[in-house]
């Protein structure tokens, strides 16, 4: 037994050495030669032994007998071991990324019930069906063109085996600098994109895009025509989201601000405070502005009325589901658990937890102090705000920074809801613009402040050597890169969303007719009530502003 241990130790060193040597010789996607040194003296446990005793202690399962041998005549070689080690690394990363993607996909359920709980029962089917169909519509649009535009030039991604087929980016040369604008490989996942690594990347990126599209349905709930929602969502998933996704994650011009203009490590957005949440929140703002508020939301003098949601238990359960899914969102964005600093997943998960927790706590305290009661829906929104804000910095900051970022987010979401409600008078039934838009931008900014320079994802980020550092750790350039990212979100992405939805308004018409809205959108738009056995409160014009809820006051 002792002798066997010595053999295994030698074998381990041989594999480690070979893996290290191979990692220097790029590209990695070349199978090691099978004619290399034969490995001898390694004995596998006898299958008869396992058959007789079983393996309750896991001492005989997963041994040399499980290594794939290329040439049975030659026997086990170092090349076999190296190939197996490489495949194991990529397998770990594939499984990690896929499971994280499945978690993010489940967030759709969280969004669906949070949004449905926060609107009135008479439009529950309509809101639920918008959340349900963003999955199908968004996925289709992303498969057709979105993925290619976003990730078509993103190779190599080492943690997923390279994804080498995604190697074509359109680059505009302007003012003596390259401006990578969009990817050009991967449309319909066809041609060379029929690749295992590309498929994993597609699934993971697709569920992120879907999160963006589902944010918009919240801010436009209870008055958005279903057909307009369908067309609007396709545009967001096929073009608008992927463009910014490319600029931030697909080797586009924002990510190259460090390499081309000396601004830190370029625009850094680890898991998508900007790419996913700010894009969703700003699109929600663009559409909600065009739609106008729900009937009864504002009195003739402009004072707002509170329109309570119909099920707080839905809201809080949905928030928990989202918080659970966020463990796929942030730690999953390493795109692996093995290699290139991906072991930082533990730190990222803890940062995620902490920011959500402090966001919820801060919002609860804010509402308690300001209005005299701890508000359940705002506590839930505080949790989401903290999670949104930590999404971009989660991979670059320490736990103290995560607490501060979450805390600020919790206050910011409350102030944001009051601003949109009372000052801007943009009706947002679920607070999506504050939760995702405002805190998405805060998350982007916080990278430029709090990134501590301790993360190391393979020695560089966005093509710039070293770790990402924010202003408080000595790199003001990183803060400027983040500010330019924010300017792009507000200046370009908002505009694209606004113009696209203006076009939808002209062609399809964005808003339901007032009678349908007052009756509730379930029957007029969907043909079926969500709660057929409930007695629902339909309204007429006269009672619309008096029976909705109590006027909002600060005390």
């Amino acid at each position: 037994m002792r002798r066997k241990h010595v053999h295994y130790t030698r074998l381990l060193f041989a594999v480690l050495g070979l893996t290290a040597a191979l990692s220097v010789v790029a590209p990695m996607r070349v199978k090691a030669e099978t004619g290399s040194t034969t490995v001898t003296g390694v004995t596998a446990p006898a299958s008869a032994d396992i058959a007789a005793k079983g393996d309750p202690g896991a001492e005989m399962t997963g041994t040399v007998s499980d290594v794939t041998i290329a040439d049975t005549k030659q026997g086990l070689t170092l090349a076999d071991l190296a190939n197996q080690a490489g495949q194991n690394k990529i397998a770990i990363n594939f499984v990690w990324t896929l499971v994280a993607g499945f978690l993010v996909m489940f967030m759709q359920a969280g969004f669906a019930i949070v949004e449905t709980g926060l609107i009135r029962a008479k439009s529950a089917n309509h809101t639920m069906m918008m959340n349900f169909m963003v999955y199908g519509l968004g996925l289709f649009a992303y498969w057709v063109s979105g993925f290619a535009i976003q990730m078509g030039g993103s190779a190599p991604i080492a943690n997923l085996g390279g994804v080498y087929p995604l190697n074509s980016e359109y680059v505009l040369n302007l003012f003596g600098k390259p401006w990578p604008l969009f990817g050009m490989k991967g449309f319909f996942l066809s041609g060379t994109s029929y690749d295992v690594g590309v498929m994993v990347l597609f699934l993971f990126q697709m569920v992120f895009m879907d999160t963006t599209t589902t944010i918009v349905t919240g801010s436009c709930a209870e008055r958005w025509k279903y057909s307009a929602f369908c067309v609007s969502t396709i545009g967001l998933g096929a073009l608008i989201y992927p463009l910014f996704g490319n600029w931030a994650w697909g080797c586009g011009w924002l990510s190259q601000l460090g390499a081309n203009f000396g601004l830190g490590h370029g625009y850094c957005d680890f898991a998508g405070s900007g790419v996913v949440h700010a894009v969703g929140g700003l699109t929600g703002l663009a559409v909600a502005m065009q739609l106008g508020p729900r009937i009864g939301k504002y009195n003739r003098d402009g004072s707002p009325n509170a329109i309570p949601g119909h099920d707080l238990s839905y809201v809080l359960l949905g928030c928990f589901i989202l918080a659970f899914g966020w463990f796929g969102f942030n730690p999953g964005s390493t795109l692996g658990a093995s290699g290139n600093g991906a072991l930082r997943i533990g730190s990222i998960a803890v940062n995620t937890m902490l920011a959500g927790c402090t966001g919820s706590f801060a919002a609860l305290l804010y509402m308690w102090i300001r209005y005299g009661k701890p508000d359940a829906s705002m506590a839930g929104n505080g949790l989401l705000a903290g999670l949104v804000a930590i999404t971009a910095p989660s991979g670059f900051v320490n736990s103290l920074a995560a607490v501060i970022i979450g805390w600020v987010a919790g206050i910011l979401v409350c102030v944001g809801v009051e601003f949109f409600d009372r000052v801007a008078k943009v009706d947002d039934p679920v607070g999506a613009m504050s939760v995702h838009g405002l805190n998405g931008l805060w998350g982007v900014l916080s990278v430029g402040l709090f990134a501590d320079g301790r993360s190391n994802y393979g020695g560089s980020w966005n093509g710039v050597a070293g770790s990402v550092k924010g202003l408080f750790y000595g790199d003001a350039g990183q803060l400027v890169a983040q500010l330019i990212g924010i300017a792009t979100l507000v200046g370009v992405i908002f505009t694209l969303s606004f113009l696209w939805n203006w076009l939808v308004d002209v062609i399809v018409g964005q808003r339901c007719n007032p009678k349908a809205e007052l009756a509730g959108l379930d029957i007029p738009e969907m043909g079926a009530l969500c709660y057929p056995d409930f007695q629902l409160k339909a309204q007429d014009y006269a009672s619309a502003s008096s029976n909705v809820g109590s006027p909002v006051s600060s005390k």
Binding site: L285, M289, G302, K425, I484, G491
Partner: protein, 60 residues
């Protein structure tokens, strides 16, 4: 008013990006970026939102 709002919003972004090309000072680039964001926000809330508020359903 909508066109003016859109132009302001895009203009804010152009101002932020112009800072990259007009100066190499990190501080000045930061100023350009902040000014650009402010300009874009004024386009959104000062023009576009005002256009829709003037036609809001509760004012009819």
């Amino acid at each position: 008013m909508r066109i003016a709002g859109v132009l302001l919003v895009v203009g804010g972004w152009l101002l932020a990006v112009a800072g990259l090309l007009l100066t190499t000072s990190t501080f000045m680039r930061g100023i350009f970026a902040c000014a650009g964001i402010a300009l874009s926000l004024s386009g959104i809330f000062g023009f576009l939102n005002q256009y829709y508020l003037a036609r809001a359903i509760w004012k009819r």
